[in-house]
């Protein structure tokens, strides 16, 4: 049989290692957490282009500050523990003290983690219910921004492999450019004609999956004029990587100019999806089921 390990235990050690770790940890956290919250947190995107984006950035700032003490605890614990308790070169490997349990530490740990988890969930829920945070909420949104009743409606129709934007308030104008008026609450109705896509307006802090047959609503409150990237964030087939374009938030005069220009351009083109309003059709359908419904090829 193999060499039996020595059953002897190491000499008892009266140093209060626990106190040292806790003190170092508290000092480190007290220094690091505000620094992280003030200097690192705000760097995390998506930025302040919209109310929703600002909300996410604030969320990220809080959570970055939140995880810092945890990171510090583990760092201090392992740095101290591994240096203090490792077996030195040429030192005999003895058994450590046979401590099997400490119910107080267990209780403390369970209470602290539970409180932390409940705080996170409560904070996240509160932030979400404030204004919807720019996420897709399905056809019946519960997290509504302040002026959602008179929100500017834009439908985002995703298909392989492009987005089409439909403005019901502009006579059902369909365009492949996304322009949004500044300082407005916008309701984005995202749907798809074929596979699952995801409408991701990065700088606006908006992401909503586009499912066929589903009207997925996301609210965003724009601020000043800006530009933003739009890309598909759900793998949707061969040219998914090239499914992106740019959008703009512009002030109302520019928006009107753009709208009338677009209406002129597309005036001669019959709306593809529905009968025009003059023939009794709705300017706007929540979902579309293009024929044929079977797959091609």
């Amino acid at each position: 049989m193999a060499s039996e390990p020595s059953a002897a235990t190491s000499p008892s050690d009266s140093t209060n290692h626990g106190l040292r770790v806790v003190v170092v940890w508290l000092v480190l956290s007290a220094i690091a957490t505000p620094l992280v919250a003030i200097y690192v947190g705000p760097l995390i995107p998506p930025g302040n282009a919209t109310v929703q984006g600002q909300g996410q950035t604030f969320d990220n700032q809080v959570m970055t500050a939140f995880v810092t003490p945890i990171l510090c605890l583990l760092a201090v614990f392992f740095a101290y523990g591994l240096i203090q308790f490792h077996v030195r070169r040429n030192e005999a490997i003895l058994d450590g003290p046979p401590i099997r349990n400490d119910s107080q530490i267990q209780l403390l740990w369970i209470v602290i983690t539970t409180v932390m988890v409940l705080f996170l969930a409560g904070f996240g829920t509160y932030e979400l219910l404030q204004d919807g945070s720019g996420g897709g909420q399905g056809p019946n949104p519960i997290a509504l921004p302040a002026h959602h009743q008179d929100a500017f409606q834009v439908q985002v129709i995703a298909q392989q492999w492009q987005f089409t934007y439909r403005y019901p308030s502009l006579g059902g104008l369909e365009s492949n450019q996304l322009y949004l008026p500044a300082n407005t609450t916008v309701a984005l109705h995202v749907t798809s004609l074929d596979a699952i896509h995801s409408f991701w307006a990065y700088e606006l802090g908006v992401k909503a999956d586009a499912n066929p047959g589903v009207d997925n609503v996301a609210y965003v409150e724009t601020k000043g004029p800006t530009t933003f990237h739009v890309r598909c964030a759900e793998l949707c087939g061969l040219w998914h990587p090239y499914m992106f374009n740019n959008g703009r938030v512009v002030d109302s005069a520019q928006f009107q100019a753009w709208a009338s220009q677009q209406q002129r351009v597309y005036a001669s083109i019959k709306p593809f999806m529905n009968k025009p309003e003059s023939e009794g059709g709705a300017p706007y359908a929540k979902t579309y089921f293009p024929e044929p419904d079977r797959r091609a090829g």
């Binding site: 049989m1 193999a2 039996e4 390990p5 059953a7 290692h17 995107p45 969320d59 990220n60 939140f66 990171l71 614990f77 392992f78 523990g81 591994l82 308790f85 490792h86 077996v87 490997i93 058994d95 450590g96 046979p98 099997r100 349990n101 400490d102 530490i105 740990w109 369970i110 988890v117 996170l120 969930a121 996240g124 829920t125 979400l128 945070s133 720019g134 897709g136 399905g138 596979a195 699952i196 802090g205 992401k207 909503a208 999956d209 499912n211 066929p212 047959g213 609503v217 990237h229 598909c232 964030a233 793998l235 949707c236 087939g237 061969l238 040219w239 090239y242 089921f289 079977r294 090829g297």
Partner: protein, 630 residues
Amino acid sequence: MTEAAAPPPRPLWRRLLGFNLLTAVLLGIGGWYLGWFGAHAIGAESLEYFEDTDYNELSVYLAYLGGVIGFLVGLGFLNYPIARLRGYPPSLREKETHGWTRYFSLCTDHKVVGIQYLWGIGLFFFIGGLNAMLIRTEQLSPHSQSFPMGTYLTLVGMHGTMMMGMMTSGILGPFANYLVPIMIGARRMAFPRIEALTFWLLMAAGAILTTTIFFGGFPTGWTGYAPLQTQANPGMDNYILFFALVGVSMTLLGLNMIATILTMRAPGLTWTRLPIFVWGVLSTAVLMVLAAPVLIAVLSMGALDRTAQTSFFNAAAGGSSYLYQNLFWVFGHPEVYILALPGFAIVLELLPVFARKPLWGYRLAVAGLLGVSLLSWFVWQHHLFVSGMNGDLRPFYMLSTELISIPTGFTFLCGMMTLWRGRISFTVPMLFCLAWFFNFLIGGLSGVFLSDTPSDVTTHGSFFSMAHFHYTIMGGLVFTFFAAIYYWVPKMTGWELHEGLAKIHFWTMFIFFNSTFAPLLAAGFLGQARRAPVYTGNLKFLNDWVSISAFLLGISMLIFLFNLVWSLAFVKQPAEANPWGSRSIEFQLPSPVPVHNFDRIPVFSNDPYGYGEGPAPSYVVPAGAPAGRE
């Protein structure tokens, strides 16, 4: 009874005949063509429902089913049922002989199956890793440059599917099969033939996924979301068959593990004396048995949509893409804990040995494992926060997701308190376990951002979530997988691995793993979408950095491979029976463990963690006591 003289060895050509891997491959190919032409012969194409497709999906399915059946018949899986039908009494064991041929045939020795798993899974792990290298090659440029788009998507899909499918059994396959019977004082698993079946099914599945390239690959990634799945080319059928077979293999593997642990524990091995690794296996196996059938069901629906033109996932014809997402993630979230839990268990199993202290808070650790296993059923819609599905349930899923960090925290607490005041030696397995703490901490803390719905709006579907699950799965599972290899492989093979190379492997892997995935967390926040070879130019530096780190990570894997082959095939330094001074029972046996594990069924009187509590337990029945377990 006297030992009979061994029969003279037969010539090589004679040994190649019979039920073995060679026959299995030949019959598998034969069965494949039989299915293919059989489907054409019955005129599957001319059925009304297949008119509007160019491809004859039914032929692909029948061909591969024929191939799998031929493969299993060639290995000899039908022999036993036929023998029983002919009236032969039941038996348990097949081909438990010595010699290398047993590794290439149906063998019911759980130790042989464990080693078969190690090499089989290792093979596919390296194929999956190679895919990752090719993906990173493409990502060197912000434009699509190295591969055609379809090939790139297939690479992404194969990497993900291979890793998720194969590494599910990454620890339960090799290590639980090998160690659980020994740790519980049994000579075999409850169902030795099913045990072998799970392995060979996995190999058949791996071959099916690899041959997807002959059918055009598949564009969906490992999740295989449905409307895209339904319209994809026949390579998609390989994905469906692969994952369904993996599901069958997982179900049976889990079933076998649970039955073994429930019924075959040796006398004295009460639930509180069970090694924590066995508890980890048990909690994982419960998830496997219950989650994998849901996967098989949802893929069956996908296969029906593709062949019989049903409309489970076609919204225009009464189906729903949400149905696929729901069912897939009902499986998918337990699946990621199937990957993570064995890692927890290995860390907790190894720490006491190298800290020379008892496992701290045994019951809390068990509660943590079982708690994760239970909670993982209630979180699946956090993958769908922005999908528009059940928007009003998002606060609930946010809470349930964050609740999982409580039982996960138990694992951290027990591990950390085991180290505390211990006598820690930095052996190679210990280094991998310590790295687990670091990686899983980063993985867990990045998970905080993903579980928070407002923050998830930006991070969902980005490289942030991709880096997050690489931290938890690669950092959590693969690191402990290597810890287990360095800890147990000398026991399993009887030969030592080279320690210097192992340390080089660890340090390169740890550094380049972090150097690969930490920048990807940032890239995700900066707006890089998953699964796309096209990204904005400002991310080029990050991506180049990541690609180079990834290549170095690949080289670190090659160092490991070299070490493995060099040590086991050329140096062959015999391993000691108990090189780590462990009190666990497998280290009280010779290396490698003899065919029937124990001369006498051991009697347990304590758990294996009594470091510092007197002499090691002997596990031996007093001489003269009646043999047997009653």
